[in-house]
């Protein structure tokens, strides 16, 4: 198991990370305070939070969205990501 894999697949090939809806985000920073993996970052000089390290995000974890009062965080579809992981695993076995 190398450092950056999830279920045997390189983490950077799995598109799992939050998306911030800036129309809803009120910059309360609850998600940033919560996330122990440093996924979010405050943008210098601006009242804006960005998803700076998407590949630090734990695949299938949606805990930050569950702290978000204004419901501004969304994630990709789990079944689609699972399907992709399965395909990538099969590809790795065949290769």
């Amino acid at each position: 198991m190398s450092d950056n894999t999830f279920m045997g697949v390189p983490r950077n090939r799995i598109p799992w990370a939050p998306t911030i809806d800036y129309a809803k985000c009120n910059f309360c920073l609850e998600c940033d305070k919560f996330c122990p993996h440093g996924v979010f970052q405050r943008q210098d000089g601006e009242k804006k939070l960005v998803v700076a390290n998407p590949h630090n995000c734990v695949v299938f974890c949606r805990a930050c969205a569950k702290t978000c009062g204004p419901d501004a965080l969304s994630f990709p579809s789990k079944p689609e990501v699972i399907q992709l992981i399965k395909q990538l695993r099969e590809g790795a076995t065949e290769a």
């Binding site: 198991m1 805990a63 569950k66 702290t67 978000c68 009062g69």
Partner: protein, 284 residues
């Protein structure tokens, strides 16, 4: 017998769901009796509500996912007996209550529905049906890291990389969270098991476990239909901290396709290695 409650709404003033939490609280109290707990005064002078919270079960009403009322109850060491989360309930029902801070007709109608559903539900009690037999004394492998000791069973369990376990017995399986995850969450104050009868995909949500730090989604290691839930752990969520692999199980599923699910899971020794890696990374 109808149950009285000490009712703690978030009463948040700057979002639409805050004033609605108060409306729900007042309606529950009108139907059942008990006492309204003001969050501001509870924070400032908890003794004011000591009698009510000792006498009656606590119903917490959070307006939004910030969960101020739940966190306040937790800070005050008050066990939460029942809980409503209005923004999540509205989303699930596809209801829009608007942005107005003064409750409008849509918001008030939504409150009525929430209250009617709440009053209909029988308080959780007794054994859940059809729990399969999962006997045996579990032996554990311990792994010390810093001041923590993380336990992983020596055999008989499978894990996913989201720190959830499954234990299979015939065509039934129990799922729960690992010792590593319960320690990461710290004191668990609320467990919401999945609905009995729900069909869950592998890696789908099998309930949630909540501490003051986070709401953790239980990622089901297997697919199947929920046939039983652990009411003991729902009533005493500290069981999940104390005994995460046995008495702290969360749901029991009738397996749908274990042979296929199995291929994506880790055995005990593989999971132990993963926990060591996670613990080491966390210290960085």
């Amino acid at each position: 017998m109808t149950e009285k409650y000490a009712v703690l709404p978030c009463n948040g003033l700057d979002k639409a769901f805050g004033p609605l939490s108060r409306e729900v609280a007042l309606a529950v109290l009108a139907a059942r009796g008990g006492e309204l707990v003001c969050p501001v005064l509870l924070h400032r002078a908890p003794a004011r509500y000591a009698k009510a919270t000792a006498q009656w079960p606590l119903l917490v009403i959070d307006g939004c996912a910030t969960r101020c009322a739940s966190r306040l109850a937790n800070e005050q060491g008050l066990p939460i007996a029942r809980k409503l989360q209005l923004s999540a309930a509205a989303k699930a029902a596809g209801t829009k209550v608007g942005e107005s801070l003064t409750p409008g007709p849509a918001g008030l109608a939504f409150c009525q529905t929430i209250v009617a559903d709440f009053l209909k539900e029988a308080p959780a009690a007794g054994e859940s049906p059809a729990a399969a037999d999962f006997p045996g004394v579990i032996e554990y492998e311990g792994f010390a890291h810093d001041k923590f000791l993380f336990r992983v069973p020596k055999s008989g369990y499978l894990f996913n990389e989201n720190d959830c376990w499954v234990r299979v017995s015939g065509n039934r399986a129990r799922v729960g969270i690992s010792d590593y995850m319960q320690q990461s969450l710290s004191d668990i104050m609320f467990c919401t098991p999945p609905e009995i009868g729900a069909e869950i995909e592998q890696f789908g949500e099998a309930g949630t476990v909540e501490s003051s730090k986070a709401v953790f989604e239980v990622v089901s290691p297997v697919s199947g239909k929920v046939v039983a839930v652990n009411m003991e752990a729902a009533d005493q969520p500290e069981l999940i901290n104390e005994d995460p692999y046995e008495r702290g199980w969360i749901a029991e599923l009738e397996l749908a396709d274990f042979e296929s699910d199995r291929g994506l899971l880790l055995d005990c020794s593989q999971y132990l290695e993963l926990v060591k890696k996670k613990a080491a990374e966390f210290q960085k």
